[in-house]
């Protein structure tokens, strides 16, 4: 990593970002993510991959492209520092990435201050577009390529339930969300929506405290209520919840939005505990969400000997969108890029990416829906040799398999 981990403490007060049109000889793109986590790793590698491809194909409008990757350590303070290193120190022309809503929110002020375009690839909070709506002129430099925001994630969960629960045999469920900010838009209405629109019985919507290490009492409760499934919105506490569910062989299904299980390596890492769990994600390596999805996953695997995570798809698309915007405007001026991105319709690896306009429902956020980005639901299923594969359950046009109950249920 860090092909161009540009100069230590380097940079100066050279060419400003906001200044004038024209394309410089070298364009620098900053990428941010926690290097220790697969989500961040995938962001940084995908940004590198995209930049390498672009350079092999003649760069951006003739200019060489450099990528400067920064490890956010998954902490707001470090994220802010490294963002400042990229912008104030290295004068990058745009930044992509960020994993974690808190990390994103901690630099929203700095993005505005720096007036440098940022394309988010790994945070679902709807508060970022709310800030754009609140003060468009200040915050307009922010965009999100993916994932869909958590309001849409909630809508997506209702839609998936409506389309698939009957076939899955889920008539009575409990909703399990971790008690983090990002799940609030989901849990606010999920009970009534699921009951009214899908017609399933929801025994409870439980918000699990951060740092919960023992899910036994929770599962005891679910088992006592005889639910068919635990419908989830879990990220940080996801692994522990899943592993304990599998180890305790709980007689109900498990899935929904579950960030760790989205990792292509997760089945192996948990020695098969992930079996039959399902989750929404941006795309899987072999799902043809668009014609770019599979080639990207293959290129990534060839380069890094592993498969990308959902954040990777978005980071990869984000770099290409910056390329398109610079080439269209023949400028690296942030305001020019903002107007160009607002009107852009780009077919990326994760779908047909378009942003809401300044007056849209979520300004500068990625649009959600069958015609835009909607993601897929997949399930971990084992083949004859016992190897696990992420198989797409939804949407209809990409569906590979039908849902299977846990082997012990």
């Amino acid at each position: 990593m860090g092909t161009a981990l540009a100069g230590c403490l380097g940079g100066g007060n050279g060419n400003g970002n906001g200044g004038g049109g024209g394309v410089p000889d070298t364009i620098t793109i900053g990428a941010l993510g926690p290097a220790d986590s697969p989500m961040g790793d995938s962001i940084l590698k995908s940004a590198e991959l995209a930049v390498n491809e672009i350079n092999e194909n003649g760069g951006i409008a003739g200019a060489d492209v450099e990528v400067s990757t920064k490890d956010t350590k998954d902490q707001p303070g470090t994220t802010r520092s490294v963002y400042q290193e990229l912008t104030t120190g290295e004068n990058v022309d745009a930044t992509v990435g960020i994993f974690g809503s808190e990390q994103l929110l901690s630099i929203m002020g700095n993005i505005a201050q720096q007036s440098t375009v940022h394309l988010t690839a790994g945070a679902a909070t709807p508060e970022a577009p709310a800030l754009v709506e609140e003060d468009y002129e200040t915050n307009k430099y922010w965009f999100r390529v993916g994932p869909i925001n958590s309001v849409f994630l909630g809508e997506s969960q209702v839609q998936f339930a409506a389309d698939r629960f009957e076939q899955m045999g889920w008539e009575k469920i409990a909703f399990l969300a971790e008690d983090y900010k990002w799940t609030e838009p989901i849990t606010n209405n999920i009970k009534s929506q699921l009951e009214e629109e899908v017609g399933v019985e929801v025994t409870e919507v439980r918000r699990v405290a951060e740092g919960t290490e023992d899910f036994t009492p929770v599962y005891d409760q679910l088992e006592a209520d005889e639910v068919d499934g635990a419908y989830t919105a879990l990220a940080h506490t996801g692994t522990t919840a899943l592993v304990q569910w599998a180890q305790q062989q709980r007689p109900f299904g498990f899935g929904g939005i579950h960030v760790p299980t989205q990792l292509p390596s997760f089945y192996e890492a948990t020695q098969g505990a992930a079996i039959s769990t399902f989750s929404q994600t941006t795309a899987t390596a072999n799902s043809e969400v668009t014609e770019k999805t599979v080639p990207y996953a293959n290129a990534y695997q060839e380069e890094y000997d592993s498969l990308p995570v959902y954040t990777g798809y978005s980071a990869y698309d984000a770099v290409y969108m910056i390329k398109e915007a610079i080439e269209a405007t023949e400028s690296v001026d942030s305001d020019d890029l903002v107007s160009e991105l607002e009107g852009m319709s780009y077919t990326g690896t994760g779908g047909n990416i378009e942003f809401f306009g300044p007056d849209g429902r979520f300004p500068h956020d990625v649009r959600y829906g069958a015609d835009y980005s909607q993601g897929v639901y997949f399930q971990w299923q084992a083949d004859e040799s016992g190897e696990g594969h992420q198989r797409v359950l939804w949407p209809d046009d990409l569906q590979e398999v039908d849902y299977q109950s846990p082997p012990w249920a």
């Binding site: 230590c8 902490q75 707001p76 002020g109 900010k181």
Partner: protein, 383 residues
């Protein structure tokens, strides 16, 4: 104590006259002047680094003032930064109070926290008191977790909403966003703390505080109330630490557990103070700056370690921990006292304060012990 013996009273003019000062004091003054002019020559990113470093150094001084002087080692000084910072941040976020007003209120809240932490120190000493200080911020984090709508839990206020940065004052741009204004704000807080702490520790109270560290009963026997001095140290430490926490949050930093309250912050503060030299304030200030900048430097090293093939920048925190361990082990008296000591030894060798262990440095003694151990291990005799 210095070597001079003339007993005439010194005037304030003499005390504050740079020409009359000792060498290390003059160097310190030069350093402060340098801090003032530095922004004229450095790029903005350095100003940002330095602002954070100055705030961190202020944290370290606030720790040194209480723990370095009274000997009551606090393992949870993040409590004060956190109380100061979060009070200010929440006042702004939930009640809309301007940061310029909220920050001093935060400082007062942290001062009260100092009083509350100070009370146990009157009753429980040594490692047991340290245990109490160690768990107090952890309890506070749990309390925060209990009210996520107010505090954002582990993730900080940023997950509740946007806390305002300091706004511009007149023609001076907002220190919340402008790197150079932010730098001068940090420098102001740093110097304020430095002046307050140096003045008090060099005045009679400093003598009493260190005397408490040496022998509390003797302090009482010479007519001074140790409890009063201890509580005072805790309250002032809380006030300054809390002010720095609040100022940091509204300028270059944020209001997060990981930046203000986390265990690691409290530990870093102690380590920095030890590196700089405990019980000196100036050592703490220098240790804080050095420690913070060392970390930034290591984070940005491009070098990839051979064999394991990992870039230094990616595992800097691990390496940093190991470097720290080495420092703690081999230079436990701190960098600044060591430098000042050698300076003095060179300039006035006759005044050499007697060294109890025959002139060997602690490092030398430790190496000797190690070799002894080795010898023993291979069947030899200890010397």
């Amino acid at each position: 104590m210095s070597g001079q013996t003339q007993s005439d009273l010194k005037s304030w003019g003499d005390i504050l006259n740079p020409v009359e000062m000792q060498r290390h004091q003059q160097v310190g003054l030069l350093g402060i002047v340098a801090l003032f002019v530095l922004p004229l020559v450095i790029p903005a990113i350095y100003a940002i680094y330095l602002s954070s470093a100055l705030f961190f150094a202020t944290f370290v001084m606030s720790w040194d003032f209480v723990s370095g002087y009274t000997g009551e080692i606090s393992f949870g000084h993040g409590l004060f930064f956190g109380v100061g910072g979060y009070t200010s941040g929440m006042l702004n976020l939930h009640m809309g109070i301007d940061p310029w007003i909220a920050a001093p209120i935060g400082a007062v809240a942290a001062g009260i926290a100092g009083l509350l932490i100070g009370f146990p120190s009157l009753r429980v000493q040594g490692p047991y008191f340290s245990l109490i200080t160690l768990v107090t911020p952890i309890i506070l984090i749990s309390v925060f977790r209990f009210f996520p709508d107010l505090t954002g839990g582990e993730l900080g206020l940023v997950s509740v909403g946007t806390v305002e940065k300091f706004s511009a004052i007149g023609p001076i741009p907002s220190p919340g966003f402008d790197p150079y204004s932010g730098y001068y704000l940090a420098l102001f807080v740093f110097l304020l703390a430095l002046v307050i702490f140096v003045a008090i520790t060099r005045s009679d109270a400093g003598m009493v505080l260190t005397a408490i560290r040496a022998d509390e009963i003797s302090v009482a026997a010479t007519g001074k109330n140790p409890a009063k001095f201890k509580l005072f140290a805790f309250v002032l430490s809380g006030l300054v630490g809390g002010l720095a926490g609040a100022m940091y949050g509204h300028s270059v930093g944020g209001f997060n557990v990981s930046e203000l309250l986390a265990l690691i912050i409290s530990i870093e503060v102690i380590v920095a103070a030890i590196l700089g030299g405990i019980g000196t304030i100036t050592g703490a200030a220098i240790g804080g700056l050095f420690f913070y900048l060392l970390r930034v430097f290591m984070r940005n090293i491009e070098f990839t370690i051979p064999v394991v093939n990992v870039p230094v920048g990616e595992i800097y925190f691990l390496l940093f921990g190991i470097v720290t361990l080495g420092f703690l082990f081999y230079l436990p008296e701190g960098i600044v006292p060591r430098l000042v000591g050698e300076w003095r030894a060179r300039s006035e060798p006759q005044a050499g304060e007697a060294v109890a262990d025959g002139g060997k440095s602690r490092g030398e003694r430790i190496v000797e012990e190690w070799t002894d151990d080795l010898r023993e291990l291979f069947g030899g005799e200890r010397r």
